[in-house]
Symmetry: C2
Subunit: 331 residues, 2 copies
């Protein structure tokens, strides 16, 4: 389990530096606290880990990679804060969401602050010796990723109102909403480590595909996970009418009466726990979980295949470990 | 009035290119429409004009300056959309605000989209021949500006809850909330035009000071302006309890009974029009408007002094015209 030890190391340093950047740059105090809240509350730091492992496997050291690692985590947390407002989610990582504690205005602004800190963080790349042309590439990748992330979130928001959503549209949507930032993370590692164009592009493929696998597993855990472990209330996706791969598969494959049972609860904001349980049983009986796991595994395998662009060594093995973890995880 | 003709030229091109970028990059359609709404609704495009005029006076052409000009206008409009949600403002530029038409979730996301487009726009600087080191500087300036803009907005939000706010704190706050992006705009012009460090820094001073003057005039127009001309309801600042320079001066200089009259209405969300009128009369009688105009003029003069760093010529004269307009404007 060596890769997990390395993850813990990266996690500790990235978390410390992110909190320091917030403390040094954000006023007033309330806004700084709101901005730091989710980061203090936990998180796996998989995106920074991707930056670091890809970069290390290409010979760069942590000091050099740190600004990139921080940037993607800043973007991730900005998007969580804004998404929680949009979905009106009450809990995340087992703690109250930012807007439920500080109100919507401060929530929006805290997200905007983390968004800005992501880009100011990339500015530090010059100080650690990265060439201007590479810094400029890093900015470009990050900004493209944020745009795609927002478009993905926009599509996600329209799905509940659409009568028919194809599974391929769902995959495209999560490729944007989640895949784009994983893709950017892996690419940033290669960009900062002065990787070749082909390596950068292959790392993009790796990141994108594990991002897609990650989101599928996330959607499975949102319905079949243990909320004491995931930190997110089971059933919130169903109450919000989210068209996840599980729901789409069930609506495609289940019998008419079963479909009706699911549609009755899907999108019902005030659904009771017993209704949620029934909806989950319908999804379970359809075989959607097994189907979704299969799709996630397929993407993880395609991701691992793209690792051939990296030199053999411990960091490449760690990235394989990460791909496995993403599939096996329970939180 | 030659400078106004040039402003119209820049405005038309920047608006067209911004709308094109939204159309090409944003999905689904509803999100694209929400993102374009305020830009279609009007706006003076003073920030892009700053980029262009500073850049032109240093020898750069419009093609080269356009990505920078678009970037600052994208940031400006992102901040308007988010601010309107935070303040729950219903009207802007004489039309309904984004969140009142599309809802808060789409409003937040539309802001995030424009935010991202600002940074992807800077990525185009490479394509028009700007050196990587300058592109990287442009990214750095823009990201610092957005951070300061958010901090300024955070301070602005805390002022209504504070018992005592100094006029110097107000000036500091607007220097961040409004000054930072004007500063960045003028600097971007110089950065893209390959200006010297000293020129870039002087242009920062110019932009920052006209930004401060601009915001003071904005606050005056918010109370004494004609809402058919400004497009913003008179009195909304008073209802929101905003501690503008006018309010701060009145609270400092007016007699006790007058102060009481103002404080009774300040921050009263459901204040009637007659109450607002009384509060405005108190502010008028205190001499706050003349005081604030004087402060705005002082900053505009300091700004114009910084223009000595630019070579003599029509564009320098246009920038002087802009500084004058900012003080004299009625919208």
């Amino acid at each position: 389990m060596l890769w997990r030890e390395e993850l813990e190391e990266v996690k500790a340093i990235v978390t410390r530096e992110i909190l320091r950047a917030i403390e040094e740059n954000v006023r007033p105090e309330g806004l700084a606290k709101a901005s730091a809240h989710l980061i203090k509350g936990g998180g796996k730091r998989l995106r920074p880990y991707l930056v670091v492992e890809v970069g290390r496997s290409l010979g760069a050291n942590l000091d050099r990679l740190l600004p990139g690692a921080m940037a993607v985590e800043f973007i991730h947390n900005f998007s969580l804060i804004h998404d929680d407002i949009m979905d009106n989610d009450q809990f995340r990582r087992g703690i109250r969401t930012v807007h439920t504690l500080w109100g919507v205005p401060t929530g929006i602004l805290a997200g905007d602050v983390l968004y800005a800190l992501a880009f100011t963080s990339l500015g530090k790349l010059r100080e650690v010796g990265v060439r201007a042309s590479r810094v400029q590439m890093a900015y470009e990748e990050l900004s493209k990723a944020v745009l795609r992330l927002a478009v993905g979130q926009g599509l996600d928001m329209t799905f509940p109102k659409m009568r028919k959503v194809r599974i391929s549209s769902y995959i495209e949507m999560i490729g944007l909403k989640t895949g784009a930032l994983f893709e950017c993370s892996a690419k940033l590692g290669a960009i900062i480590a002065d990787g070749k164009r082909r390596t950068i592009s292959k790392m993009g493929v790796f990141g994108r595909y594990i991002g897609i696998a990650f989101q599928i597993i996330d959607d499975i855990l949102g319905i079949f996970g243990d909320e004491r472990v995931t930190g997110k209330p089971v059933g919130s996706d169903i109450r919000e009418g989210k068209k996840t791969i599980l729901v789409l598969y069930t609506l495609k494959k289940a019998e008419k009466s079963e479909k009706k049972l699911l549609l009755r609860t899907l999108g019902k904001r005030d659904a009771r726990r017993s209704e949620i349980s029934k909806a989950i049983s319908v999804i379970e009986r359809s075989g959607a979980k097994e189907y979704a796991m299969g799709v996630a595994r397929k993407y993880a395998l395609k991701a691992v295949a793209a690792l051939d662009a990296l030199p053999d060594g411990p960091h490449k093995e760690h990235l394989k470990g990460l791909a496995e973890f993403i599939i096996e995880r329970e939180f």
